[in-house]
């Protein structure tokens, strides 16, 4: 039982990364019908921007010029990095996707892949092949709850990501921009007929997705403080699978599928040798898709893409 709960805690943390990255994928996918294959790398960029901001703030704090407590630095890092990374997302949208809005979707997917490679390479050129270590902003405290070990970091990570997911949900449900996004996911061709600028909504979608990826990147840096330029690849593709699995146009679906991904991975490794993890995890996904061909909450979309 202790064993199970320990893994449950582990899975919650692990799944929250997938869920947050999957949300970014899912939003772009729902609204623009595009695979933004660069999203995994935006997660990486977010983590590095977070690293840069945090390192800078720590240095500033150490110099005594502006003495900040660790948690304060973390909050500032998250906010600043979200802001900065959202620009990365908007640039990616402007350069890589907007010119291709009417092109075959596969072309945009290729552009995304290529932008991803450029982001990785750009990072390598800027920072070199050396791994960097994310500064420890909060002292790790381990609690022993009846044999189950929980750290303050884990609790923080799960809570912060859940609250961002909730915030996103409220944004999409309650604001007019969120409404426009939902409308666009349903039928983006008619959206401009109501006086809604599609480009603004697309840009906003990329910005929000990227900002979330930045949060995921920073929380990842807190949990696994070793960053490398290729960290976005595996993560990105798995989150991508989760996003599609969740179903088009469903934030709830992407979140759940992201957590499911994390749970499958952790629990498969709990029962089987960990080398079988991918094999079993993807077999499960394949089966789910064979029996639920449109994901969890997705509607079989009719390709009503032209007016």
């Amino acid at each position: 039982m202790v064993f199970f709960f320990q893994n449950l805690i582990n899975a919650l943390q692990w799944g929250s990364f997938y869920a947050m990255i999957a949300l970014g994928y899912s939003m772009v996918y729902s609204i623009l019908m595009l695979f933004n294959f660069a999203h995994g790398d935006i997660f990486m960029v977010g983590a590095y921007i977070g690293f840069g901001v945090a390192t800078g703030l720590v240095a500033l704090s150490a110099s005594g010029f502006l003495a900040l407590p660790g948690w304060m630095i973390l909050v500032l890092t998250i906010l600043l990095s979200m802001f900065l990374t959202s620009f990365v997302g908007m640039i990616v949208e402007r350069v890589g996707y907007r010119p291709l809005r009417d092109a075959p979707r596969a072309s945009a997917a290729i552009t995304g892949l290529m932008i991803g490679i450029m982001l990785e390479t750009g990072n390598l050129i800027l920072l070199g092949a050396r791994r960097v270590s994310f500064p420890p902003l909060i002292e790790s405290v381990t609690y022993n709850v009846g044999g189950v070990f929980v750290t303050n970091k884990k609790i923080m990570i799960v809570l912060v990501s859940l609250s961002f997911m909730l915030a996103l949900h409220l944004f999409v449900q309650k604001t007019r921009y969120g409404m426009a996004m939902r409308a666009m996911a349903f039928d983006y061709v008619v959206v401009p007929l109501l006086g809604i600028p599609i480009n603004t909504i697309a840009r906003l979608t990329f910005a929000i997705g990227s900002a979330l990826a930045a949060v995921a990147g920073i929380l990842f840096g807190v949990a696994y403080p070793v960053l490398d330029p290729y960290m976005g690849i595996v993560f990105g593709w798995k989150a991508f699978v989760a996003a599609i699995l969740g179903g088009r146009g469903s934030i709830m679906g992407a979140t759940l599928a992201g957590f499911l991904m994390g749970f499958i991975e952790i629990f498969v490794a709990m029962v089987f040798p960990s080398t079988l993890r991918d094999l079993i995890a993807y077999s499960i996904i394949l089966l789910i898709l064979v029996f639920r061909p449109h994901g969890f909450f997705g509607e079989p979309y009719s390709a009503r893409l032209r007016l």
Binding site: R176, R182, F186, P192, L193, L194, G195, I196
Partner: protein, 237 residues
């Protein structure tokens, strides 16, 4: 003239859809374009709302402003030209209220929006009962009402209506057209495209007949109703 169009040409790839239309609409008019399937009626509306690119040489002005300089969303938000597309195209995953609120996306004046919202609900009382229902669950007539209401809020100096009668029972059809007349009476100009030529001509003041991408006839709606050529081709003899 509210809207004046000269030499409107549109092609889809190598297929020419419109071969140079000229027409005008005055403020406050109800004008209809009738024609067979594939004559280019919907394309004409799409060209006005800038949803399809037009070819060089086309001139479109709205109250003296060059339409071609504006992106589609500005045509709605700046000029007040709204477009009810073929098949309604409501956001089925949004509620009725959300669909209406969304139509006010580009508008700032909260009071005016609320007034318009109330007005829509008085014109179409049935929508009021369904405000928090998903638009996808509405019946065909209600969907058409919502589509018109949405257009009413987003802009109504000129309303472009694509087949408003499609798929509606005769009685509903009439009530939709009554509502449109009411909206027109409040100052909205209406350009509608119809397969149901008789209904359209009875409803309009002027009419155009479109055949294979060319305007073949135009004039007073009542006269067109009596035109023998129109009669045989569009009114079932």
């Amino acid at each position: 003239m509210l809207l004046s169009i000269q030499d409107l040409r549109v092609s889809y790839g190598r297929i020419k859809a419109l071969h140079g239309l000229d027409f005008e609409i005055a403020d406050g008019e109800i004008v209809c374009i009738i024609g067979a399937n594939g004559a280019g009626k919907s394309t004409t509306l799409r060209a006005i709302s800038r949803m399809v690119p037009v070819e060089d040489g086309t001139r479109m002005t709205f109250m003296g402003q060059d339409l071609l300089k504006l992106p589609p969303e500005k045509v709605v938000s700046q000029l007040g030209i709204s477009h009810v597309p073929e098949g309604r195209r409501l956001f089925g995953n949004l509620t009725v209220l959300e669909n209406l609120q969304l139509a006010a996306f580009a508008r700032k004046d909260k009071d005016a929006i609320n007034r318009d919202l109330k007005r829509v609900l008085t014109i179409f009382p049935r929508l009021e009962e369904r405000l928090i229902q998903k638009a996808g669950t509405l019946s065909g007539g209600e969907q058409q009402m919502l589509a018109i209401g949405r257009a009413f809020i987003s802009g109504r100096r000129l309303m472009l209506l694509d087949e408003p009668s499609m798929g509606l029972a005769p009685l509903l059809m009439l009530s939709v057209f009554d509502a449109l007349r009411e909206i027109n009476a409040e100052g909205a100009t209406i350009l509608l495209v119809e397969q149901n030529a008789r209904l359209a001509l009875q409803f309009s003041q002027r009419g155009y007949v479109l055949e294979n991408g060319e305007m073949v006839l135009q004039g007073d709606a009542k006269k067109l109703l009596d035109d023998p050529a129109v009669k045989t081709a569009y009114l079932g003899g």
